[in-house]
Symmetry: C2
Subunit: 771 residues, 2 copies
């Protein structure tokens, strides 16, 4: 592969890393070989794409670099750094400047250590070619410079601006772990040129309509509802019509013209049709299309890089079985490798993975079979062992007795679920009623007891470890909610009985927990569960977009605080005369003050975030922004328009695009080829049967294991199932979205070209065998 | 094909129509045969799916049924019927009841004639099995009954409601010509179950959040900005939070809680994230997915039906060329057929179509080749004949002289376009300035002259018929705008010179035309043109959705007028004291009256439509609806909520889905196989070269026609090009959208099963050869 290509795309690992490959003979593999191969495999498994040196020392540093403690520390420092905004001027909780600066210095030091560590892991020339690193270093240096200047100005009692605070979120974007986030930013950046042209056309349309409005309405002496002249200033018309695109001033902006003449409604309806409906849909189409296109390309690169790494791992471990035959990996070496990659993998699970890889039962793996390993390890397979209930061992006679079996039968009956759904409904009504009534407030104890009883009964019937297995979301949900509610209710009544005082906070928590309990009723209805599963699946994506939004909000919040801080004040005391106009005489009589929006200000980072959310929702956008325009000047509009374009036109559309894509995936219901393979091996149970049941890990299964080729003794005693699709990573979801579109020929061709470059890989049938 | 299937899907023609097929021998075809075949071909071409009898009499009636005059009349009567709402109580232009009833009776009579005609064309049993016909007849009968009752009540001076007016738009949906519209309704109907379940979940989420809000905020004695208790009534909370989903009351609904405590912002932000962003995206995803799915199925049926009809046409005209050989259609019969199908097709065009069909140059067509005919006739091919300019013939010496050629060179130069773009820009500035200034108002004449000169120069240089050919949208646009502006300006100044009076209307038209002239500058920029082309292409779709919206609006407008008429009044006279509260004391002090929304009422059909548009835009939705709730009662909310669900959640999402789909099509840029074939035949010129040029039909082309196999003399003298993609029908666009997804095997399989049922068609390779 060429150097230039490797520079451009971080996803493509470089070739020179394979320099230790020519271990062609059948010499015994050293521990370092296995370690290196294990790193390649886990890099492939977790889609890490760091080019690292293959010397044992560098490998050890590389392993340390990926240690989870260091990662957690890194995230902690990033969060700490970002949260400084809460304590810095203008602060929610003011701290002296030296304190925040000290913490920030400490954070900078931590980031420097991390980047230094990274520089040690990868070769120097690679390090300096990665824009990510340059960006981090520049951010660190600029922050340091800013801190020195600010400190000096502060010491000299001059006014200083901490402008480098805007750069802080860039660290969140650029640390290696922020890959999802970086990808989202990249796909935005790539979509920008097309968005720009549509935006130009959109602006052209607004300008033309404004000109028409000026000519048609400017001379008619119409007045707005405030008695101001209507549509007489071109710039104001443009702004008003831009606001109309957000629909925030509809229908007010139209009323004076409409009141004057029916016909003008046509003008505004045409405007809304073209600019609000058509252009906004076009923006969505452009963003969506680009998002799909670039993401597809990135995932293609990701899949390619993953295979490449597996090929390298194979090259390290390969042996020549027979003279002139293809190189293979023996089962023994494979076992050692797996031991290193996933030490806590059960031997049964290892058996399963091996038998999926070695489906011809040859006792060794060729390259094609070996390469699947990374994907196979990523598929979560649950070992379903019909484990006996602990009581069965402790009190076998009692547990097997007729009453006990009757209880088991009742709890497993469909009616049990229905009865508790009814209880939830009754509970809903009780919650809705006034809790001052002693009957109602005491009924809470009855419901709590019932819910607790339900959980205990289920624990009696079902094996506890299976009941609380990682994938039983609703069991966890129920138990946590009920137990928290129990604790909170106890604390609340304890406080209530000791004196008059009842903590409002605890009561709030009790209420929230009570209502949350009702959510469970939804999961018992099949139709709803499908929708909820999809919603849960897009959870990680929403998290990524949450980060994206935080980055953008943080930048705008810091800017907004510098521009607008303390221009609008909120007074808690309702009798304060300044409250009428938010402490700023300029706001007297404006809609902003009249609607009591004083708390929507940029006086600290928390209110800034809330205000930015309100601006994202768009409604009353013009009132909020005009408030800040009034207290500063007209150019402040630019801030709000840029925010609208960035967040509403670009980022929200990317969000919608992601939700759409995830839902289409759900409807199409793809299955990776490896999942198919596992199912073909007859080890997977029907997933539906399991999911239909509330406690899905405990069924006794009479599976036709006997039909299989060579069941090993350890395997016949247990059953595997592919973990619920709910719990996939974002990467896996993305790969699944685009796997359907990635033609196998396409990939095989790419592999061929790569093979020509590397000289170490030439298996023409490879592409079609891979997922 | 089974009877049941034919009943269900109107797209599948019935088999028994093929009963005249066994004309197996080589007997000369009668005129009726050709007529029948021609009907099949044009039915296939225009995707008509009416099952008709094949007796000569029925065929003649069928032809009459599709006569364009009858169709125009039908649409006229539908429009007349719908527009009665303007004249009926509550009327924009009141007419006596007997007059509107008379016109309506007349319309009903016309519709009865049409449906009677239709009943004559198709067999009786088919007629009664089509829900469309039942719907039309039921509508007619119900309307008649309603008219009688209403007339009787009116005569007895009782209060009567013309409830059947709601049914009027159903006629627009159900007449045979409303296929696009019916399809849109069908895909909505099909998506309803899924939308319903998501909606239930969405409502469940709102109810839970409302309960939580009641518990958290109800007891805190908070007040809204009007001093009313905040969040104390559960039903009101549900409504408020439903409104928050539309974002119409953000951030006002949150302010009291937010002012009381920062923390409550989290509640509202979570609510907005889940219900506004996630659920609304899910609605879009569900609507979009269903729309795609069902449309795909319908288009598949359409393509199948089209082929089926072509097979029947083939069966009518087929001849056995040699004993035991496959049946074929000779060129002679084919020519006669084309003469009937498209009498005005030029012989050169016919040559082209034949040579595309008969690509092996055999002199006859087999079934596979014959079947393409319908698609081929649908591809608009423009005959580009390098016709000489009329002046060339009239004044050859003058036209060929040096100055004349210089003019031609100048006009064709790129600079000419740039100069006129600059003129447009200068004109923009002049328009923006005050037209009271005599210099400015006189400059208008200069610009008009310049634009007129531009058009005349172009007409001098380019052949006028090519310049005004059907596909040169911008030439037509320019000329119409400039000439209308010239006329309007002349009229305006004539009126101005005769007296003081200047007609405001004419001045408005002048202004609009002036501004519209500026639009042209956009088409000269390549990037913009691509976007605009896509926008123009989705024009027909927007028209279909326009009809859909009109149907829904009409129903809601009629309902709204019955419920709310004259409850809210608008007073033109600003001094009227009633104006303060829209003539209804109940509205005193409400936001509705304060914001001067009095003209947004249901007092006639035009204001109802404007109001419904405002409700579609959603902003201030709660103020508008609460106004009408105040003047009636709380249950009126149901009307507004149902309108919101119908229009905003369902119909607007279908609109967005269509725009997205059309844009993705544009990006993928599909080409039908027949278009490819034409291009392969080297007859198509590079379209881009043509489109790059403003006057794209006039270039002299040195095309390498010589490379072709057997160029006929008539063809070598002219060049064809596939008409710009801009001007396709909705059906063609849809078929193109889904053609990529329709796997050829899939189709061939369907054709096979059909062949088994019909017994008259068995060509296994058929599927893969067709587009």
């Amino acid at each position: 592969m060429s150097e230039a290509a490797a520079e451009k795309k971080e996803n493509i690992p470089d070739e020179s890393a394979g320099k230790r490959i020519p271990n062609g003979g059948n010499a015994a593999k050293s521990r370092e070989d296995f370690e290196l191969a294990a790193i390649y495999v886990s890099d492939a498994q977790y889609n890490r794409n760091i080019y690292f040196d293959t010397s044992p020392q560098a490998v050890r540093l590389y392993l340390l670099y990926h240690h989870w403690i260091l990662k957690v520390l890194l995230y902690f420092f990033i969060l700490l750094n970002l949260s400084l905004a809460v304590f810095e001027e203008p602060a929610v909780f003011p701290l002296p400047t030296w304190a925040t600066m000290l913490v920030e210095l400490f954070c900078l030091f931590a980031f420097s250590l991390r980047i230094g560590h990274y520089a040690k892991v990868i070769p120097r020339d690679k390090f300096w070619k990665d824009p990510k690193n340059i960006c981090i270093i520049a951010t660190l240096v600029l922050t340091l410079i800013d801190m020195v200047i600010y400190g000096a100005l502060k010491a000299a009692d001059c006014y200083g601006v901490r402008w480098s605070r805007v750069l802080r979120p860039l660290l969140l974007v650029n640390v290696t772990e922020g890959r999802q986030l970086r990808r989202a930013f990249r796909s935005i950046r790539n979509a920008l040129p097309q968005i720009f042209y549509v935006f130009l056309l959109f602006m052209f349309s607004i300008l033309l309509f404004s000109l028409m409005a000026l000519k048609l309405l400017g001379k008619r002496d119409l007045k707005t509802i405030d008695g101001k002249p209507y549509f007489t200033n071109y710039v104001d018309i443009v702004f008003d019509l831009y606001v109309l695109v957000t629909t925030a001033n509809s229908p007010d902006v139209m009323m004076p013209a409409y009141n004057a003449n029916f016909g003008f409604a046509i003008f505004f309806i045409l405007y809304i049709l073209i600019n609000t409906y058509i252009f906004m849909s076009v923006f969505l189409a452009v963003v969506y299309n680009n998002y799909k296109k670039y993401l597809k390309e990135e995932v293609r690169q990701l899949v390619k890089a993953k295979r490449h790494k597996m090929v390298r791992a194979f090259a390290v471990l390969q042996e020549q079985r027979e003279e002139g035959g293809p190189p293979v990996v023996t089962r023994n070496n494979w076992n050692q490798l797996i031991q290193l990659v996933q030490p806590n993998l059960s031997s049964a699970r290892r058996q399963l993975v091996w038998s999926v890889c070695d489906d011809k039962n040859q006792g060794f793996l060729d390259k094609v079979a070996f390469i699947q390993l990374a994907d196979l390890l990523n598929i979560e397979v649950i070992t379903v062992k019909p484990r006996p209930h602990p009581f069965q061992n402790l009190l076998p006679n009692f547990y097997q007795s007729a009453p006990s079996r009757f209880v088991c039968k009742v709890v497993q009956h469909r009616g049990f679920v229905i009865v508790f759904d009814l209880i939830i409904l009754v509970n809903t009504i009780f919650i809705g009623l006034d809790e001052k009534n002693p009957l109602i407030s005491n009924s809470e104890w009855v419901f709590l007891t019932l819910y607790l009883l339900e959980i205990l009964l289920k624990l009696y019937v079902f094996e506890p470890r299976a009941f609380f297995s990682r994938h039983n979301f609703w069991n966890w949900f129920d138990t946590i909610i009920v137990i928290s509610a129990l604790i909170a209710t106890c604390v609340n009544s304890a406080l209530g009985s000791t004196g008059e005082y009842t903590s409002r906070q605890i009561l709030d928590i009790v209420f929230i927990l009570r209502v949350l309990r009702l959510v469970r009723v939804v999961d018992n209805i099949q139709r709803f569960r499908t929708i909820i599963n999809t919603l849960i699946r897009i959870g990680p994506a929403i998290f990524t977009f949450g980060q994206l939004i935080v980055v953008v909000y943080y930048i705008f919040a810091v800017l907004g605080m510098e521009i607008f801080k303390d221009k609008v004040k909120f007074f808690d005391d309702p009798s304060d005369p300044d409250k009428q106009y938010c402490g700023n005489p300029l706001l007297k009589g404006t809609a902003f003050a009249n609607l009591n929006y004083c708390k929507n200000n940029f006086n600290n980072v928390v209110s800034s975030f809330v205000l930015l959310v309100e601006l994202t929702v768009v409604n009353q956008w013009h009132v909020l922004s005009s408030g800040f325009v009034t207290v500063t000047n007209v150019s402040a509009r630019i801030f709000f328009v840029i925010f609208h374009i960035t967040v509403v036109i670009i980022i929200i559309n990317i969000f919608v695009a992601f939700v759409l894509e995830a839902f289409f995936l759900e409807y199409s219901d793809l299955q990776t080829s490896l999942e198919k393979k596992i199912e073909e091996l007859n080890l997977a149970m029907e997933q539906e049967r399991l999911e239909d049941n509330l406690v899905n890990a405990m069924e006794t299964i009479d599976n036709n294991l006997g039909t299989e080729g060579s069941p090993t003794p350890s395997r016949s005693s247990m059953v595997f199932k592919i973990s619920s699709k709910r719990y996939r990573t974002v990467d896996a979801l993305l790969q699944r979205i685009f796997e359907a579109d990635l033609a196998p020929e396409d990939l095989s061709e790419n592999d061929d070209t790569e093979a020509q470059n590397t000289g170490s890989f030439s298996n023409p049938s490879f592409g079609s065998a891979s997922p």
